[in-house]
């Protein structure tokens, strides 16, 4: 039986990699993929705790997170397509419509 802590460490590393991608990249699609990576790291944490405490709620939460991620991917990619139509790029530095 693999200790729960190891899964939490793996999840922490993956989450930090996702944070690094969001902070350093400018390509909108890559930033979006980093967000998906962070969502998956959180899912891993949910499942690790679910097994640790023998609770089914963690699994149900992961199920809902997957559904939300699907909705998020659909809307987010539609936003990028729309952005590309208007600006001919998906560099997030160019998307400065709401800049102060």
């Amino acid at each position: 039986m693999i200790p729960t802590q190891w899964f939490l460490i793996l999840s922490a590393i993956l989450f930090a990699i996702g944070v690094c991608g969001v902070l350093t990249r400018k390509n909108g699609i890559t930033i979006f993929m980093s967000i998906e990576l962070m969502v998956n790291a959180v899912n891993l944490t949910f499942l690790a705790y679910a097994r640790q405490f023998h609770q089914l709620h963690g699994l149900i939460f992961v199920f809902f997170v997957m559904a939300i991620a699907a909705a998020e991917a659909a809307v987010g990619l539609a936003i990028f397509i729309s952005l590309f139509h208007h600006r001919e790029t998906i560099d997030v530095d160019e998307a400065n419509l709401m800049h102060w």
């Binding site: 993956l14 400018k26 998906e36 679910a50």
Partner: protein, 171 residues
């Protein structure tokens, strides 16, 4: 012993391909590396006694969502998009901040996430148990998710429908 080998192998694969996702210049390579990373995570789910969610991870994430990503990358022809190296200071700060974040997170997990023994007995996570929980105690959130998915479909159509948006903005 065998499951320790599996854990370390797939943990290494997940971390390495996650690094490829954020470091590679070509978005297509990033998307395919993310698929590999998600596959390794589904192996982790199997190790965590959640085979149903492992299957769901492969079908929904590695299958549907990543195909959507690849479709958009190909549609917008982003393979050759160059990323100019502007703002080096901010980029350096991003790397250092996230490295510090990683070290802090791992430190606190090692120090404070110490567990006593698990409850004995098998952990029942069959799809039947999940289904019963979904339609008994979680039936309201389940219905809300269906409405949310409908709203997401409508929103995606509205956002990507070029002509209708244009005609509303510029009459």
């Amino acid at each position: 012993m065998f499951e320790y080998v599996v854990f370390f192998f797939f943990a290494a694969v997940a971390v390495i391909f996650a690094l490829v996702v954020i470091l590679h210049r070509n978005p297509v390579v990033s998307a395919l590396s993310l698929v590999v990373s998600f596959f390794s995570l589904s192996v982790m789910y199997v190790l965590l006694d959640a085979p149903f969610l492992a299957v769901l991870q492969v079908i929904v994430y590695a299958g549907a969502i990543m195909v959507l990503f690849l479709f958009v990358i190909m549609l917008l022809n982003l393979q050759h998009m160059s990323e100019p190296a502007t703002r080096p200071i901010q980029q350096f700060l991003g790397y250092t901040t996230s490295a510090a974040f990683a070290i802090g997170l791992v430190y606190y997990v090692i120090k404070y996430a110490v567990f006593t023994a698990m409850p004995s007995g098998p952990f029942h996570t069959e799809s039947s148990a999940i289904g019963v929980a979904l339609f008994e105690s979680y039936v309201f959130p389940f219905e809300m998710v269906s409405i949310l998915l409908l709203a997401a479909i409508v929103g995606a159509l509205l956002l990507s429908g070029r002509t209708t948006v244009r005609s509303e903005v510029q009459p």
